[in-house]
């Protein structure tokens, strides 16, 4: 069973990680049954009085409860309606949240869950009983459905029956990168505030970080095109054996509640709702949309920032980079354990300087920390002769233990390797948000035609724009991001800025190299997608056919050695790059008629985007001039 830690934001001045509390410690020594049967005494939610007279007794106890369990979440729950916004990496998220709130006698939330969970026997029922309600993944213009659903959520908020919980990212992130937020539900929970029906709404970003994710291999397969199995209970039971494995720890971090009122201050003119009765639904205006969108990004960023990173995340980044470098050099695979440890310590210090929320056990020696991380993920790495490498050869053998290796086609072997690579990448991705901005700058310096600040900015701005479907990059914050990246790189002695020129310092090359390599798979991936659209896309390619077709194209490229990044096979990357091209207008999606969903490619534009990504073309002048 996984161990689990909870932290509630008490004092931001305290070092965050010192404050995790092991909530299972007590339970390890007592029976599960007693726990399950213990008296559940929720703190009164708002002023809602319990309906049963028998609960009167417990009301006396509540006042005691209140005295010693005072923390911000509780405060927030008492003052204003609360919306819990956990990150979504696993099925476990639902259960964990309810479990923690139960443990702390807080009101259990109502959870907006995807419809597909309902189909799961027993579990669906369990979720429903723990307060979940199920929503369709898309409404497809069903106005009544939308109306009923949004009214349900709003009533929950307005009357304060229970906190509302939903996932900003909309679905589980298969890559462990935060997904760009979905706005529908956020719109609904903000509406009562904007229309003055409640004084304020508190949004609580919750970051749940897993040392090892239950679904790790499952996700990788899914990204490679094995379709997501239908959520079923028997599936869950079959997966039970995975529970006997060690999955490390889970950290749950309740972020500082964000007040919608303070978010909206000076941003939204609430008077706009004065002229139409509030019950008449209206499409939110441009300003509301951009307000909700910005808020959503802020919240996802807050989730990212509070994610606890384990040493393994850094190791995975290093091992992946090493793997690709060795591939090119065709050297002996793997890294010496000492070297890995040295690099990990270097990366640990760097990431801390960049503000990472790193959970590195300080009381043990670095080599111990490294080896214990490696042993937890022994499915992904192999240690032989003191060298550490990704467990790629094993991959094939594991799936088909009986058959000889020769029976595997190169394509199958590649896919098997890709599972391992993508699993590793999903851990590396957890650290991406730390390095993203500096990495964009590093790549910009790399691709820009000169080291002139304006030139680099243009290049930065281009890359940032290109990748804004891939990573969490707050809309309209290009300048801030650029300045943040400059600040971090200058602070860590990587760069110097002399008279609008960037100068890379002697010791800065190591960091810059690491950062560019971090982003390189994505750069290459986007270029390959562009190349596919220019060279290989058939007339009348539809959106549905896109992923399989581009996958085939990429497999070909990898097998012929033209592309070294196996992780480009991730359908997530492929879809994101298509979305970016659609957004930029390089590809158009035809609507209506027989050609529904057909992609129309502007080859000239796609080609020039590809060249710009590869640094062959200078970036066009960025629109934002203020620097």
């Amino acid at each position: 069973m996984a161990s689990e830690a909870v932290y509630t934001h008490r004092d931001p001045m305290l070092k965050k990680r010192d404050d995790f509390e092991d909530i299972l410690e007590e339970r390890r020594n007592s029976s599960d049954l007693r726990y399950a049967l213990r008296c559940y005494i929720p703190v009164l939610y708002k002023e809602l009085t319990p309906c049963k007279a028998s609960e009167l007794k417990s009301m006396v106890l509540q006042s005691d409860q209140l005295r010693y369990v005072i923390n911000q979440l509780q405060q927030a729950i008492h003052e204003h309606p609360v919306v819990l916004l956990p990150s979504h990496r696993s099925y476990m998220d639902f259960l964990l949240m309810s479990y923690i709130l139960y443990t702390y006698d807080l009101a259990l939330p109502v959870i907006a869950a995807g419809m597909d969970f309902m189909a799961m026997k027993f579990v669906g029922e369990m979720l429903r009983m723990s307060g979940a309600f199920f929503i369709r993944r898309s409404f497809g213009g069903d106005k009544l459905y939308w109306a009923v659903f949004s009214e349900y959520v709003k009533t929950m908020l307005k009357n304060g029956f229970a906190p509302v919980e939903f996932f900003l990212e909309g679905t589980r992130s298969r890559t462990c990168k935060s997904l760009t937020p979905k706005l529908g539900l956020l719109n609904i929970v903000m509406d009562p505030f904007l229309k003055g029906e409640v004084f304020d709404v508190s949004l609580v970003p919750v970051s749940i970080s897993y040392e090892r994710i239950l679904e790790e291999a499952l996700y990788a397969r899914e990204l490679l095109g094995v379709p997501k199995p239908k959520e079923s209970t028997s599936g869950l039971f079959k997966a039970r054996k995975v529970l006997s494995e060690d999955y490390g720890s889970i950290h749950v971090y309740f972020g500082q509640p964000v007040s919608v009122r303070s978010l909206a201050q000076n941003r939204v003119d609430r008077c706009q709702f004065n002229l139409i009765p509030r019950h008449i639904p209206r499409k939110p205006g441009e300003d509301i949309h951009s307000f909700v969108n910005d808020s959503a990004y802020r919240l996802v960023r807050a989730q990212e920032e509070n994610m606890v990173l384990k040493p393994w995340v850094l190791l995975a980044s290093l091992l992946l980079q090493n793997h690709h470098q060795m591939q090119v050099a065709e050297q002996k695979q793997g890294m010496a354990l000492d070297e890995l440890t040295e690099q990990a310590v270097w990366l640990r210090d760097l990431s801390r300087q960049y503000g990472a929320f790193l959970h590195w056990p300080d009381h043990v020696s670095p080599s111990e920390a490294v080896s214990s991380s490696l042993s937890l993920h022994r499915g992904l790495v192999r240690i032989s002769e003191g060298r550490v490498q990704l467990a790629l050869e094993q991959a094939g053998g594991q799936t088909r233990p009986g058959e000889p290796c020769s029976a595997v086609t190169p394509e199958e072997e590649l896919l098997n390797q890709a599972v391992i690579i993508l699993s590793c990448a999903s851990y590396r991705n957890q650290a991406l948000h730390i390095f993203l901005r500096p990495a964009l700058l590093a790549s910009a310096i790399h691709t820009a035609s000169s080291s002139n600040k304006q030139e680099v900015y243009n290049s930065f701005s281009f890359l940032r724009n290109m990748f804004s479907n891939e990573f969490i990059l707050c809309p309209g914050a290009t300048v801030q991001d650029f300045e943040e990246a400059c600040y971090l790189l200058v602070k860590t002695g990587v760069l110097q800025i002399n008279q609008q020129e960037f100068v890379v310092t002697e010791r800065g090359h190591r960091t810059l190299g690491f950062l560019t390599r971090m982003l390189d798979p994505f750069l290459q991936g986007y270029q390959v997608v562009c190349r596919f659209l220019c060279e290989d896309a058939t007339e009348g390619l539809t959106e549905k056919q896109f992923v399989p077709a581009v996958r085939k194209f990429i497999i070909r490229h990898i097998l012929t050695g033209r592309l070294r990044y196996t992780e480009v096979l991730s359908s997530d990357l492929q879809k994101n790059s298509l979305a970016a091209l659609l957004r930029l207008g390089a590809v158009q999606k035809l609507k209506g008629g027989e050609e529904q969903g057909t992609l129309k490619v502007n080859k000239v534009m796609v080609n020039s985007l590809e060249d710009t990504l590869g640094g062959k073309l200078p970036t066009q002048k960025a629109v934002v001039a203020r620097l």
Partner: protein, 634 residues
């Protein structure tokens, strides 16, 4: 109502007798055509002022003779804590006068965290030397003197006309600080005097600021600091006669300077009333009501000022504006009265008004209903409005205000009454299970003939019962209305002990009433906290008027400012935030206080750019040289 009665005793009786006689005489001498009963028509000759029975009128030229210079109302009426720490109200003018209010101290100390040990006394005497010497336009003064219209540039007179009753205005006076004050005060006696003054002002380019009762709470009377011309305060208080009463059409023609209590009293003597009773009616003037679009407590029966006015005469720099007839309604383009009503002294001076009058009601009855919570109370008021059966006045106070009203209960004389009170309390809180920290009370006033009142009363109580309301007696109702007359005196008491506060109002559609009350009150509390106020503020509201489509909501807000370096600034920031909150929740900029200079910044958003342009173009035509330069509204 009308808890104020001047003087008393035998002189009163004599006066009433004399008036009754003169009325009979008037009836006997009625002209043959009999169209109207003319009481007085001509302008008084300036020399013969002694003829006017001065003791009848409340407001003398020298206001300082009876009124406070740095607080609300009469000099002889004020609250104070006596040696035993009990609150007392001095004077003989009000029902509360001379009584001890035992509960006030505890309420005051517990609500504000104030203490009787920490005093902030006001500057006792108006220091004339601290007032800027007047900038006079000599030519104007000379010509004006030749007309014989009384004028003054005495410092006291000028200071009295330099302010309304906003918190910052009174606070500055208490500290003995004076900003820009008018350079001169003139007291026209009639319409023609005003015409002369305005002509001269135009001729000599002098800034005129009309002054009625001085009860503004919108900074409307503040002299614009940027004004370089000589500022003349045009005090209409001496234009206070009822010129005629037309019993056939039930109208009265009245000079605009008359204050509410005089108008009501004089009309009552003839058996009539206007029924227009704003909370400030003791001191506010008819002209002021017209200029700010005032609203009266009993508007459900009598209407607001715009419903009461039949004909208005206003003197503007372009001449006199008035309609040619007294038709009850006209379709002659936009109603020019609506340029006058709400013009806040920017276009001219209202001199004479023809107003609807009604026979005095035969029977009046107060009442009150207790509701388990504010939500139920609002639902009840909404239902009453839906059925259009609102009594003359219906007001719903929230829990905080209910407690406030309770704290103002005078000492009860008999053990029996206090026993009864205890019983009532027990019945409501224990037997009926009302939470004393949530219940709220609606106060009612019924008017009409006895039978109808009783019938009406039953109808309203039946509706209330549907919303869990319990009738709570006449006494509670009456005390509720008394509160509105003494609240301004109470503010002065608070200011003696580090507590500052004010009220403000809005109107809002029914579906938003609860939301606006909750949100504005919460916003006030939050802003106080954010601005470093050390003690939790009093933040309370009441629904004071019902309409078909909405209601008028009144907020009271006060806090203890100990520990703040600039309390007035904090106060203003909080009030500003509260107003933003009101607007964001669908409330209006003002229901009846007006815009003045205090709320000018929101005018454009309120009436739209085009609306603003319309108002500006009217101003540009009527007063191109900005003679009426108080800079309100626009």
């Amino acid at each position: 109502m009308a808890s104020n009665s001047s003087g008393g005793g035998s002189s009163d009786r004599q006066r009433i007798a004399r008036q009754r006689l003169s009325r009979i005489a008037g009836h006997l001498q009625r002209p043959a055509d009999g169209s109207s009963a003319i009481v007085a028509a001509e302008c008084k000759a300036h020399g013969s002022q002694a003829d006017v029975p001065g003791e009848e009128k409340t407001v003398p030229r020298r206001r300082q003779e009876i009124m406070k210079w740095n607080g609300w109302g009469y000099s002889d009426s004020r609250f104070f804590f006596n040696k035993k720490g009990q609150a007392e109200f001095t004077g003989r003018r009000y029902r509360l006068s001379g009584l001890i209010i035992p509960g006030l101290k505890d309420w005051f100390e517990s609500t504000f965290g104030a203490s009787l040990q920490h005093k902030t006394p006001a500057t006792p005497i108006l220091n004339s030397s601290a007032v800027q010497p007047p900038t006079l336009n000599e030519a104007f003064v000379e010509e004006l003197k030749s007309t014989g219209i009384p004028l003054s540039h005495d410092a006291e007179d000028r200071v009295f006309r330099a302010h309304g009753h906003c918190l910052h205005e009174i606070f500055a006076l208490r500290e003995g600080k004076f900003g820009r004050v008018p350079d001169m005060v003139v007291w026209p006696n009639c319409h023609n005097d005003v015409v002369k003054i305005v002509e001269l002002a135009c001729k000599h380019n002098v800034c005129l600021i009309p002054y009625g009762g001085g009860t503004s709470v919108s900074s409307a009377l503040e002299c614009p600091p940027e004004e370089t011309r000589s500022i003349v305060s045009l005090d209409t208080s001496q234009m206070n006669r009822i010129l005629w009463i037309d019993e056939k059409n039930l109208t009265a023609h009245v000079e605009a300077g008359i204050v509410g209590q005089d108008l009501e009293r004089l009309l009552n003597e003839s058996g009539y009333c206007t029924g227009h009773e704003p909370d400030s009616m003791e001191f506010s003037s008819l002209g002021g009501w017209v200029a700010t679009r005032a609203s009266g407590m009993k508007k459900n029966v009598y209407g607001n000022i715009e419903d009461l006015v039949v004909h208005v005469k206003m003197v503007t720099p372009q001449g006199v504006i008035e309609k040619s007839c007294q038709g009850p309604r006209m379709s002659t383009g936009p109603d020019v009265h609506h340029f006058i009503m709400g013009s806040e002294g920017t276009l001219g001076v209202v001199t004479e008004v023809t107003m609807k009058i009604r026979p005095m009601p035969e029977y009046q009855k107060y009442g009150s209903v207790v509701f388990p919570n504010f939500e139920q109370g609002v639902a009840c008021l909404r239902e009453v409005a839906r059925q259009r059966c609102a009594p003359a006045s219906i007001r719903l106070m929230d829990n905080e205000q209910f407690k406030f009203g309770h704290a103002l209960k005078p000492q009860v004389s008999s053990i029996f009454t206090s026993f009864l009170d205890g019983l009532k309390k027990f019945y409501i809180t224990k037997f009926k299970g009302f939470d004393p920290n949530r219940l709220c009370v609606a106060t009612l006033l019924f008017e009409g003939d006895r039978e109808k009142v009783l019938q009406h009363e039953k109808q309203v109580y039946d509706i209330a019962a549907k919303f869990g309301g319990l009738a709570a007696g006449e006494d509670n109702g009456q005390r509720g209305y008394m509160l509105t007359f003494v609240i301004a005196y109470l503010r002065d008491l608070g200011m003696d002990y580090y507590v500052i506060g004010e009220s403000f109002e809005t109107s809002v559609p029914w579906d938003r009433v609860l939301d606006i009350c909750r949100n504005v009150k919460a916003r006030i509390i939050r802003e106080c906290k954010d601005k470093g106020v050390q003690f939790s503020p009093l933040s309370t509201c009441r629904v004071t008027q019902t309409y078909d489509a909405g209601a008028c909501v009144y907020f009271y807000f006060a806090f203890n400012y100990r520990g703040l370096s600039d309390p007035v600034h904090v106060y203003e920031q909080v009030e500003h935030a509260a107003r933003e909150e009101i607007l964001a929740n669908g409330g209006s900029l003002s229901h009846h206080h007006g815009v003045g200079k205090l709320r000018k910044e929101w005018m454009r958003d309120t009436v739209s750019k085009v609306g603003m342009g319309m108002l500006k173009s009217v101003k540009d035509y009527v007063d191109p040289n900005n003679i009426f330069g108080n800079r309100n509204l626009l």
